[in-house]
Symmetry: C2
Subunit: 201 residues, 2 copies
């Protein structure tokens, strides 16, 4: 049901594993999740359908593996930003700006994958669990920044979690569903302003 059926032990199988995921990423991006069939994924990857099911127990497992890669990347990038914040101790405005800007970049970098994971996909419990885990990590890091800036308030964890959820939703909307009449940059500026205002007691 979840994740991977068998881990590759030889390079040969690692290659087919990669080929399958690469083909899945391409086809999901081109035709959407429901629009791609496992047979077509196997075909484009140049392997038999049997090989696909040797490594991924079902279609959703392909999506989960892709989400794993994507979230790992996002986690790494954000981790670097938080480390730099710990080193340089910038003020509130600069801190918010850096976090918002990198999150915007993460959304801009591969919009298809983002749309795939957060819009076109039936969010299974497994996928939701992965997402919430990343959200928790982010909230913890944001909470640390709030404490550093002395604006953690009476409930640091709650405040941090809400900020993470808010920014995620706002940035996702601003980058991926640019609404009529307002351009993305305007929205990003306003996002930063609102966030700073809500914290500057």
């Amino acid at each position: 049901m979840t994740g991977i059926r068998k881990k590759p032990r030889q390079q040969r199988s690692r290659a087919t594993w990669d080929a399958i995921l690469e083909a899945a990423a391409q086809l999901f991006g081109e035709r959407g999740y429901t629009g791609t069939t496992t047979n077509k994924v196997a075909e484009r990857a140049g392997v038999s359908i049997g090989s696909l099911y040797q490594y991924f127990p079902n279609k959703e497992a392909l999506l989960l593996a892709l989400s794993e890669q994507h979230m790992e990347h996002s986690g790494t990038v954000l981790h670097a930003v938080f480390e730099r914040l710990e080193r340089e101790h910038p003020g509130l405005e600069e801190t918010v700006a850096r976090l918002v800007d990198t999150t915007v970049e993460l959304h801009r970098h591969n919009p298809n994958m983002h749309r795939l994971l957060f819009e076109q996909t039936p969010r299974s419990p497994a996928l939701m669990a992965r997402f919430q885990r990343l959200e928790s990590l982010m909230a913890a890091a944001v909470g640390a920044q709030l404490r550093r800036l002395g604006i953690a308030g009476p409930r640091p964890e709650a405040r941090a979690l809400l900020l993470v959820q808010s920014l995620e939703a706002q940035i996702h909307g601003a980058v991926l569903s640019p609404p009529g009449g307002i351009d993305t940059d305007t929205l990003v500026t306003e996002i930063k302003a609102l966030c700073v205002a809500s914290l500057a007691s």
Copy 2:
């Protein structure tokens, strides 16, 4: 592709129409969207599979019809709240409190339907369009409140839209995915506080 294939003209057919949607709501709630089959929906509704497809051109149409009902209800409730705000002109804090509380109630009222529409479902273009339309209406109404309170800022539409997205995400998370260690009421209180702070210039 979209919506309804044939509108009922006799009471008899109206009854089967209702039975089908009721069965769909139950099964979607119990087994999720991908976990329920149209055949099972027809079976539980006590009608033949042919009858189902007489009224709903495909599986997704069931979901769309359900979302229609749900959003119509939400729209009505929120419309009433905004009308009352126009009449009574409460201050910022009270305005935010009323909007947050009713949104929380809407989420609490039928969590399964909410989860269904916003988590378990592949968000088709049709569904996304409906959702964004509701979001736009909300943003317009919130914008009017901001102007009334004299806190619209330089870009009222942008600010209103961001507030709507933020509140939706935060409340959705607080009510439907109560995170470990923090209870819903604490989160709701903090949501109001953050929202008011971000607007009290």
